[in-house]
Symmetry: C2
Subunit: 443 residues, 2 copies
């Protein structure tokens, strides 16, 4: 849909045309189109969306659009949207809304819904509780398939998913039944004979990253959430798990590039916020890089005699940094995907040691030959080659070991990535280089 | 499940105990447990898995385990597994199997299935066609809900998903109906009145990354795939899309750390493969870093007079590299998540310019003050401060622009990440630094 045409129709009050355009689009695309309108057009266009799609469009809007609309809505409009909005989407919105609007919303919903919202709002951020919904299909073990199907027909339309149903006995989860089981079973089969009692569940306090990992590992559509007394309280659905997966990968990449992660998109983050997210780490890394500088000054006499020595510093530093970040990236990602664990540390170090020897020798040869050809200086070729091998071995071992130790002591492995390792490896490579150089050239 | 206990039971031939352990576990966990056994134990244990779970366990195994089992299977066993295996999982396995085993498998399946496998195997790698399955539920528009439900009851058990059904008319897709629609509608409603005609579809040649993006954006369970003549040929299910999403994030991270991506896990990749994946980029970057070295030698006279100059090189180079990789990471991720496009290039550059000024001034001040206190040298403080600001501005602009241009000319933006930008920025920062220094100190 072209924005210009849409805005023009809206301004010309061609409401019939606007309505039929909106009817032909799905909720996600409508929300995207509306995000390009200014506030007045937004309010106008939103009221032209068909009733049964309005809540879905609303759930897909960004926070500032939702805030504006909640302010604009009449009591009646607000009530209608809130009735159709899934509970987890409502809570998502409330988490970012100003206090006065939160109060307005809580006043507009029923007492039962208000209580459920309050419970969900109280779970820690990034926990399973904070991303779950309490709207799921519950069945009893002595229902038949036919009874269950008619129960779903009555209540299912307002549930976020009906494809996994939960069999409870005094709020205790005792089994799960999929819609596929129900649809392919005979009518008089008892739920108790159909249900799967080997199910996977998480607790309200389980970290959302772990929740997403479980979804990925077991290809689930929904995951039941239990409270501290093992009572069933809600479910996490796969769409929220997918969002978490994407979010966590973004967060890891951001941290690996020495920034504080932000939940907002690039353009939604202001210049000041961008600067703030980046400065702290840059300062820390800058000050530690000056240590490397201090070490260099200790070898002033060496490069006063042999200025060519200085010209290999960038190459050594960059190669060390690159080698370290190669190893740390593989290990950080392996930890995030649950493929590498702390118990593998020695195995990983031994593997990286062998890889680094191969890589080191190859690079040292390439460089040694180049130096020999360019400067006809076998001693310099030897110094640079040896320094390269040592630097590569050390940087790969630091690069693989640090994320694993970070994980062990409860830090985020992603923080131990390229920039920090580069700074560490720099110091090592400079020291190795000048130590070897002063020995070989007897400076 | 503890591996030691399991192996002991297996070796003691306590098959009843092993069977009941396996019965209590789900397919994913059984596959993980079996991956720790040696080949002979694997074959033994696999035969103890219940018939209805065996194919599912098999689908979750890694390639070397599948290869071994296919070699071991009798004709009858192979046939049984292949009958229960979903088509997309079969194709996945065939893609990595040695030729003689591929032939053996193709000989064991029916002619129809063989034809379907051959079609799927012929789609380009990483295309929607290569990850789709042809097993979906098809409905006709003049069926009633009751007729559809009984059709699903008869045929659904062998379909990978029955939660989205596809309404076709002469192989043309005309609408989709969800299981939720069917389960909550009255029996005599016609499919044609229930179906949604505003659906999203992809083509067999659509890139799998785009497919995964569509899943994430629209929260879909399955996505129909059309051929070049717009005929419906298959579906991609959400679990495969989730795998693609994780895979693509890993691939991006790997490339961003200057490595050739590998589809295998860290431990499944041999030392030689690891070395091969890493050496090429290191060589390229190493040789370009020597250019920076060459530039330094041009200023030999400058640091012969003022050796302190050399000590700020690591700090400048590291800060430039870090600033560049901060920007490139944000942009690369934004492109991957479809949040940043080439048309935003000027907007991005202007934003990064403002961010880099803020960051540059802050870092220059911090460093200037430090240098002034340590060396009481206002000129040196000025030189380093100015160089820092220029380096940061240039590195952030290179960092944000390169991935966007890469995308524009059809290259992978992730290749334009930290290491390449670091090497570029190094050269710039050294030149800026020595230019400013020679001016200020009149060297």
């Amino acid at each position: 849909m072209e924005k210009e045409l849409f805005v023009k129709l809206l301004q010309d009050r061609e409401f019939k045309a606007v309505r039929s355009i909106l009817n032909a689009m799905n909720a996600v695309d409508i929300a995207a189109l509306l995000s390009e309108l200014d506030d007045k057009e937004l309010a106008l266009a939103f009221r032209l969306i068909s009733k049964d799609e309005a809540a879905d469009v609303f759930a897909n809007m960004n926070n500032s659009m939702q805030t504006y609309l909640v302010e604009m809505f009449t009591e009646k409009e607000l009530k209608e949207i809130l009735d159709d909005l899934y509970l987890d989407d409502t809570v998502d919105m409330l988490e970012d809304l100003p206090a006065n609007l939160v109060i307005r919303i809580l006043d507009s919903v029923s007492q039962t819904k208000r209580d459920m919202i309050n419970v969900l709002l109280n779970y820690p951020e990034d926990s399973a509780g904070s991303i779950m919904t309490t709207e799921y299909v519950g069945l009893r073990q002595y229902m038949t398939v036919a009874e269950s199907m008619s129960h779903i027909k009555r209540t299912g339309i307002h549930k976020e998913t009906i494809y996994t149903c939960y069999v409870t006995d005094r709020r205790q989860l005792i089994g799960i039944v999929t819609a596929k089981d129900l649809m392919t079973a005979d009518d008089d089969v008892l739920i108790k004979d159909l249900m799967n009692t080997e199910f996977i569940a998480v607790h309200t306090h389980t970290d959302q990253e772990e929740v997403a990992q479980i979804f990925g590992k077991y290809d689930l559509l929904a995951l039941p959430v239990l409270d501290t007394e093992d009572m069933m309280v809600g479910i996490v659905t796969f769409d929220d798990a997918m969002d978490v997966m994407v979010e966590e990968a973004t967060e890891d990449m951001t941290k690996m590039a020495a920034m504080n992660p932000s939940e907002k998109t690039y353009f939604d983050t202001s210049v000041f916020e961008h600067a703030r997210n980046r400065i702290l780490w840059l300062l820390v890394l800058m000050l530690s890089a000056t240590i490397t500088g201090q070490i260099i000054t200790k070898y002033e006499d060496a490069f006063a005699v042999l200025p060519l020595l200085v010209s290999f510093i960038p190459m050594l530093m960059d190669t060390g940094g690159n080698c370290g970040s190669q190893s740390s990236t593989l290990i950080i990602r392996g930890i995030a995907l649950d493929e590498i664990h702390f118990k593998d540390t020695l195995k990983v170090i031994f593997k990286e040691f062998r890889v680094s020897l191969l890589v080191g020798v190859a690079l040292a040869l390439a460089n040694g030959i180049r130096i020999f050809i360019m400067y006809h200086d076998p001693k310099m070729a030897l110094v640079v080659g040896l320094s390269l091998i040592c630097t590569i071995v050390i940087s790969k071992i630091i690069g693989c070991a640090l994320p694993l130790f970070a994980k062990k002591v409860g830090l985020d492995p992603a923080i131990m990535a390229a920039p920090l390792i580069t700074t560490l490896v720099d110091t090592c490579s400079i020291m190795i280089y000048f130590t070897i150089a002063t020995q070989v050239f007897q400076l």
